[in-house]
């Protein structure tokens, strides 16, 4: 196995790395690029803790090799903030609703919620539950997460109206 040079855009910045072909994308993000906001819960594609956006689409970074992300655009939880040190509106809604306890699933949930709202600005409860159904949370029982996503959607609509 020989290492390969790759280059990808992570949260708007071009990042280069030299990686073994078998290294997963989540390991690249966490261990090589130091972006530890993306978490690992199962490494077999079930829990969603490792969710990121790849070219805007939510994917499980434990199921993708780092080399597959070569030339692509990645957004992690660290990239969801609007500006420097700020938090985005969905993050703020999560805080407002206490949509977490231990915070371990939270980055993945934010990614799932973010992707949903990008496609559907006015999701109903069923659609929100569907959108986060691939992300396991052991702490909250999901109710406050669903409320947070709904709150963010409502606030965005108010902001526009």
């Amino acid at each position: 196995m020989t290492a390969r040079d790759i280059s990808l855009t992570v949260n708007g910045e071009i990042r280069r790395a030299n990686v073994m072909p078998r290294m997963t994308l989540v390991d690249l993000l966490r261990d090589v690029l130091g972006l530890t906001g993306t978490h690992i819960g199962c490494e077999h594609g079930v829990c969603g803790a490792c969710s990121i956006l790849l070219d805007g689409v939510p994917v499980r970074s434990c199921l993708i090799f780092a080399v597959q992300a070569d030339g692509h655009e990645v957004t992690t939880v660290e990239g969801l903030a609007d500006g420097d040190g700020e938090i985005g509106d969905l993050q703020d809604a999560f805080w407002e609703c206490h949509a977490m306890q231990c915070g371990y699933c939270t980055p993945g949930m934010l990614i799932a919620g973010h992707a949903l709202l990008a496609e559907n600005p006015a999701p109903d409860t069923g659609e929100i539950r569907e959108a986060i159904s691939g992300n396991l949370c052991r702490c909250t029982g999901y109710t406050q997460i669903v409320e947070a996503i709904a709150l963010c959607a409502a606030r965005r609509r108010e902001g526009e109206g």
């Binding site: 977490m100 231990c102 029982g141």
Partner: protein, 802 residues
Amino acid sequence: MSGHGANYRYVSRKRRTKEDRRFIAGKGRFAADIAVPGMKHVALVASPHPRANILSIDATRALESPGVHAVLTGDELAAETAPLFNGLDIPEVKWFPLAVGMSRYAGEWVAAVVADSRYLAEDAAELVEVDYEPLPAAVEIESLLEPDSPLVHPGHGSNVLVRKTFEWGPVEADFAKSERTLTYRARWGRSSTVPIETFGVVSRWDPIREILDVWASIQMPNYQEQIANSLGIPTNSIRVHNDVDVGGSYGVKRGIKHTVITAYLARKLGMPVRLIEDRLDNMSGGDAHGPDRLFDVTLAFDGDGTIRSMKLRAIDDVGAYPGRGPLQLGKPITALVGPYRLSSVAYEAISVTSNKTGQVPVRGFGQSPTNFMIETGIDLVARRLGIDRIELRRRNLIRSDEFPWRIPTGTEYDSGDYHAVLAKALALADYDALVARRDAARAAGRLAGIGIAACLEPGGGNNIFEQLLNEKLEITTFVESCLMRVDMHGHVTAVMSTTTSGQGHETLIATIAGEELERDPDTIRVTHADSLEALPTRSPVASRMAIVLGGATSEAARKIRAKMVRIAAHNLGVGEDRVEYQAGTFFVRGEPARKLEWNEIASIAHRQFHRLPPGAEPCLQEFSVLQVPGASGQLPNEKKEIQLYPCFSFQAHIPYVEIDPGTGKVEVLDYAIGHDCGTVINPDIVRGMIVGGLAHGVGAALYEKFAYDGDGQFLSGSFVDYLLPSSHEIPIVRDVEHCTPSPRTSLGQKGSGEGGYLGAPAAVASAVNDALAPLGISLSELPMRLCDIEAAIHEKRTERNG
């Protein structure tokens, strides 16, 4: 507002939590995020056999593999360390982090490989050659009691680890007096809390300073003491970093064996060593399974539904290595008769060992299975007598004017209004409409059911029941502490001494300190002292932090406030009794112009010794080390009676389910819950705890099982085989609060971390049985998985048709 009349500024108010800020930004600091320079990585070699002698381990090829530094075996580790803690008095049952001579369950770790990366460590782990001699395994729970069962620990001579019988109150007389009896079985399957974050630990040994630094995803009492005992180093050479965020625990994050492996290796190799479980390590070899329990119960009652007494036998399969697991048979003694007015109870507690993964404390410490057993019995009595399930509960629940209520085991319940909470839950569920919905569904040919369950959540963690199972455990001190400082600028910092795993302790402390000091909680900083700096703690177990840590916070804050009043009085030239304090200002009663501001007092305390009252200690720093309130501090008396936990929260659960008769699939379509945990500190946190615990309980009721086949082979090592409920399985939960403050705590608070999980399994089981009742089916084994329900329906139909 909660708190019954108490007009709080911050307590019970909706306020954002302190902790969430870092998590939404992706800036939590979890064990796997800790990167210590030069850190090496462990991969584990696990036994594939349920029970086998280990004949030899050959690490030659593994050691030649690239980047490998060491291969550690059980023999080496056992020679260099002492066995891990056993809760029971069973000296011949020895637990080491890696198997020694014999592997006792499929998945048990037999060797640890250290390499430059986890990838390289795993490559090498595959090259470790272990020669096993497979043996028949001890698996099925009742067979473990048989004399011819294979012995898990041959030196112990039996698979029974402890067997104790207790009788509290006039059991035989109550049985003789009662008109009816009913005998039933209830089975609680092996599941656990299974946090999304696995256990992880990094250990670093500094030979110059002689300090072992440990960063771990830990939640357990006496962690550093256990590390010290095992490694044979002083406790004050161990620095556990309590500021590591723990990604969920609910009792199970107790990776003592992982810690000993890394700490030993770090010292031996002179390199920091990290072990992060992967999901398979966690589920099969992490020794983090929960209770696995069989109950045989007889209830004695009258025709009007009055239940007088219970005879109960519980067998708990703790797996191969007991640790603290078996003590989970003791905690239920705290609320052994639930919220009901039984006047006597007989309890036989049997802990058995098997060739399965080891058991650890799980949310509620054995109370959830016990509550399921009790509520199953109440439903069965109702069915037997033809009395409505709710009415039967009403007749037996302790009444609000009867508190404090002493149960037969000697524990006094502090306060409550169970009938009011039940009534609120029924109103929230719109019970009559729910019944109509169920009946309409039934009329349309569907299987539909409503569940009813009550549950008591003991809080506070006065664990003297341990002594009832192991006389040598003479421990009666169960403290939490808080250290508080006001610095020279007047800023408040409070120090806690444990990790936190989602319970919101920083918010708890800031809110209570803010309330007591009339300072904005957002301005109060809360830090986690490491174990060398820490004040005494029993760790966040047993629904105890709001009660004991909250109490210690109140105490420390009240001391600070009293001292500031004293300094103000001295400087205002009046007696202390004439000084009033309000929201940052100290003034002379009736003369508000004669005043000193908070910051001025802080400055005087820190900088102006000449302005301090004579004899006053300079600066502003106070602490409180608080024994669990309401405890006698004594050991049980000769009748084995003892006041255990001080506070008792109460919940009433009402789920509605429908079942697909073809597949057996249960859908929980609605869930209403009424709860009373005394004064609520932060409503969002309490609600999250209740709903989250409830979801966890739905998992235990319907989906989650660590399954083994008849030979002891482990079948549930991934999230594909062990099913955690997703947002599809958990409905939007509606809750209603009631508040009966506890007379035993600083602000009337009680515990709230476990109740959801204590009530939901019983409630969901009750709903499933209600749905299946028209078919004449009654199930009493959890989990009630789709395949189990489908099989029961199929069997019934075949019976009828045949």
